[in-house]
Assembly symmetry: C2
Homo-oligomer: 147 residues x 2
């Protein structure tokens, strides 16, 4: 039997979170944190609702996963997020020592790679998982906004 | 009559917050947010108590000030913080569009300047205000920890 718990599997969960953000008129970004094939945190961008620039999906996912684990480090965890993290989120991920980051769509303007933010040396990165679906959702959002 | 509301005046408030962090056995960093010479948010590092790497003084101050203002942007505000912001906090300050950042001690290792984090182009920066007092508190903390 094949393992169903692939990167696509968990990115789909993150994408569901992003869709929830879309429905709430938030920039549609979603995230989940996984340890041993188990989702321990799920979140989506809430910057508008909370009037809070720090309420990105990843920030909430880090806080929520640490609460679940009872410790501040996310060693052994993978964060799945639909869009490439920004400076702030990459900086938080640096402190968390998360083992792996998987992101969907790239953010050429504000993504951490373009901005030169450093991740923790022990953090592995995979990107491009369901990139088109993740990116399409953001594009649709801004098209809707302009209408 | 001289204006008592100098950078030293507000940095002293931030330093009081840092001392509260010290008393709680947290890395002693404190912050206040000021608008029109009025403190609208005060906070100190709570990463240990909350088991949360995102609970830096600045992050809490940004959230708290935005709550007070009822909007997510901190235009017109000055953030005073005892230690140079890290990548995460500088990234959050970037999104907040805060008008001015005043920090005390420099962080040569993990500070946003060494890490190459970008602030918002409209954000003015002043540093070195009460730097010795701010730095001494952090040094004392780590000396105590090593004992």
């Amino acid at each position: 039997m094949e393992n169903i718990f692939t990167d696509d599997y968990f990115m789909r969960k993150a994408l569901q979170e992003a869709e929830t953000a879309f429905e709430k008129d938030e920039i549609p970004v979603g995230a989940v944190v996984v340890i041993n094939d188990k989702v321990i945190a799920r979140s989506h961008n809430l910057t508008e609702l909370l009037h809070d620039v720090t309420a990105h999906a990843e920030m909430q996912a880090i806080t929520s996963a640490a609460n679940f684990l009872g410790g501040k480090y996310l060693t052994g965890c993978t964060l799945y997020v639909t869009l490439e993290p920004c400076q702030m989120c990459a900086g938080a991920l640096y402190w968390s020592q998360v083992s792996k980051i998987v992101f969907g769509a790239s953010d050429e303007q504000r993504g951490y790679r373009a901005m030169g933010t450093k991740l923790h040396p022990k953090t592995e990165v995979v990107h491009g998982i369901m990139a088109e679906e993740c990116s399409d959702l953001v594009t649709s959002f801004f098209k809707k906004k302009r209408r």
